[in-house]
Symmetry: C2
Subunit: 429 residues, 2 copies
């Protein structure tokens, strides 16, 4: 194709959309030199034309009519940065049907409708690029699809939500309570006004879905992932964890075992010496274990205008290269096989438990019996001097079946000498 | 192409070659499912047919005649794992001319002749894949070429030699002297019998050349890189560095500044809190800074049969996909521009200096004057109680021009009260 310019239409001009525009503008010459073709933003679709924008872009570019992009035959690439599900879904499907390549950073959408959209892309001999959807600026999708493709991936374990990692870092390093840390994260722009999807682990679960689908070549449904957020993590638990040599991080974990896949997002105690324990503040990192490569870690910024924009622009450049060079059949297709999901009750884990018990003779024997009856063996116990006849006890179990642990927990709950079960967290060694 | 098998010829069956064979065998079914085509090793070229091999492969596969691979029209991909320069160079050029794709892990060759070989590949409408050449199993080449392509890369800084990192880790964490640590590295197989290229920094310089050429889109010559190894690093300096809050690592550093590129490999003091300081033993990591993405770190095993084999097999799969799908023009070409190299004397750095001086009045004033005259300002000074009228002094300068520091150093050398200059190291904050 002898084009000297490839034109894109930008859907949305929020944080990521504006970041993409800024990078294409500021690095335009370098990008043109690398590609041999200029990338031009032809239209930007926004909901409200009159909204004031932090970043200046030519007013002429803006439109509130999405068909100005979807139906424009001059536009080769549609870049979806509007977020949300339904509207974005329709827009991407329509863009593909109008013979356009698509680049998106939309994790919710790719996690829930990725398989179906990629199928439309294939039928249209187009493609959807979504590097930014799993790790923001961190290279993840291509390393999984290409560089590590010859490996059987055994495990993915990542800190893939910046908001929660920022909050846990503040709690752990500056002794802040959860609420204070959340307020600071919001003030600094690391947490949204409505941070529920981040705090409750859903954002991390979407990203895990995208990564695990590629890593394990399996079509994963959101229901396959057990999700717990950080809303119940107490400063007190972080302190006890530190005493035991652990840090608490919100981890997204995917493992392939003989019996199937284990997929979960939950706050986790990890050894302080683990590379993920050193990932602080808004930084993200994904730890991969392949049967050939061993351990690999990819670290960087998982969110933000320019980091996410960096991945989106890398995708735009790839799409532009495909168009310019008329690459045929260059798409790396993922083959999916259905794999079993191991039910949560059948999964193995170590558990951390904090409870309050009456400080009287025989209580510990009752506790021990409850665990013993459920075949849960204990690894470590901390009991501090009791206050007002109440002892706070912290226990760490050996690796046990989740169902067995829950059975022990339910016997404890029915014991009159146990005042309260305050925290239950999982431990990864 | 309706092939159901793509055949490869393996040149060399040492550590990496055997690793490649093992991965293709053990993960063969998965690889076939992902690609839709089987990868078969058709021939393995070795120098000595009778050498006993740790890994069993069908005797029929082996040949000592390289033309059995290069001239076999059934072989689509030549995988070069023999190492060395001249013979590998001829083999790769000939493979391309015989219409084969090439995969190589040969850093020495790619650093010295990569540009020329990639040119032949382009003329032949073939390609050379070399992911394993820079970071072993760590994804580096594709992230640089694709994911981060829209960034202006400002800095690359990496621990890209496992042997030296293993030795420095042992010195630092287990108080071993250099010679003892080297002997242990050799015993454990982390250092070769002749480890000169690793210890003297040349291995890291080759890898820096490959990465920096891509990151800065510039054709870099080996002479452009200032190279110092770890042979002069003393346990004593590691201890002083720790006291000052630093770790000592052999870093490969590439930076693009207004005046040009700065490229160097040398032992470096970095703050203990820097993510690279936590990279221990034989692990490698590369820290990248892009104007959009900010800081990214890629961490993993930079050497070894299976980690390097992982990257080589990823490349084989990419080549196989190109062949199977008859991808045309799918090659990502690197465009190179000539960039200036900043002469070492013009580069800025902080310096660490350890020296012995006569312990008598006025010596410190002389020292201070020597630095002052050369416009070198001092940041930190350690002087311990002197022994036999000799004081050991450790200094860390502010950021100064290398030429100025060297001028100060040369005045010190001519001062009769300075007994010895024991160590000069650079510091990166």
């Amino acid at each position: 194709m002898n084009k000297d310019t490839i034109k894109i239409g930008l859907l949305g001009f929020g944080t990521v959309g504006a970041g993409v525009y800024q990078i294409l503008t500021q690095n335009g010459n370098d990008i043109k030199r690398k590609l041999g073709v200029k990338i031009e933003v032809k239209r930007i679709v926004v909901r409200n034309l009159n909204k004031p924008r932090a970043l200046a872009a030519d007013r002429e570019l803006f439109t509130d009519t999405i068909d100005h992009v979807l139906l424009d035959p001059e536009i080769d690439i549609v870049v979806e940065t509007m977020g949300g599900i339904e509207e974005a879904h329709r827009a991407i499907a329509s863009a593909l049907e109008h013979d356009k390549f698509v680049v998106t950073a939309n994790k919710d959408l790719m996690a829930q409708h990725g398989v179906e959209l990629l199928k439309i892309a294939k039928e249209q001999e187009k493609n959807i690029f979504y590097e930014a959807s799993a790790g923001g600026g961190i290279p993840l999708i291509r390393p999984l699809k290409n560089c590590l493709a010859a490996n059987r991936i055994v495990k993915i374990m990542g800190i893939i939500n910046g908001t929660t990692n920022y909050i846990l870092t503040k709690m752990s390093c500056e002794n802040m309570e959860y609420e204070t840390a959340l307020a600071e994260a919001q003030a600094k722009g690391f947490a949204e006004a409505n941070p529920a999807s981040d705090l409750e682990g859903r954002d991390a679960a979407y990203k895990l879905n995208i990564m695990a689908s590629l890593a394990f070549s399996s079509r994963i449904k959101m229901d396959d992932i057990h999700v717990e957020g950080i809303t119940e993590v107490k400063l007190r638990d972080i302190r006890y964890a530190q005493e035991l040599g652990y840090a608490i991080k919100l981890l997204a974990i995917g493992e392939e075992k003989q019996e199937g896949l284990s997929l979960r997002v939950h706050p986790t105690l990890i050894p302080q010496a683990h590379p993920l324990a050193a990932v602080k503040n808004e930084f993200n990192a994904v730890f991969l274990e392949g049967d050939a490569v061993g351990e690999v870690m990819l670290y960087g910024r998982g969110a933000g205008a320019l980091p996410t924009g960096s991945a989106v622009c890398g995708d735009i450049m790839e799409a532009a290269r495909v168009i310019k060079n008329e690459v045929k059949n260059g798409i790396i297709e993922s083959t999916f096989t259905e794999k079993d999901i191991i039910p949560l009750a059948e999964q193995f884990s170590r558990f951390y438990l904090r409870l309050k018990a009456q400080d009287e003779p025989g209580v510990f024997a009752q506790l021990a019996a409850a665990f013993g009856n459920a075949k849960v063996s204990l690894d470590r116990i901390i009991q501090k001097r009791s206050v007002e006849k109440t002892a706070e006890i912290v226990l760490v179990t050996h690796d046990v079946k989740e169902g067995n642990f829950m059975q022990a927990l339910s016997s404890l709950r029915s014991m009159p000498t146990i005042r309260s079960i305050n925290s239950v967290l999982r431990v990864v060694e």
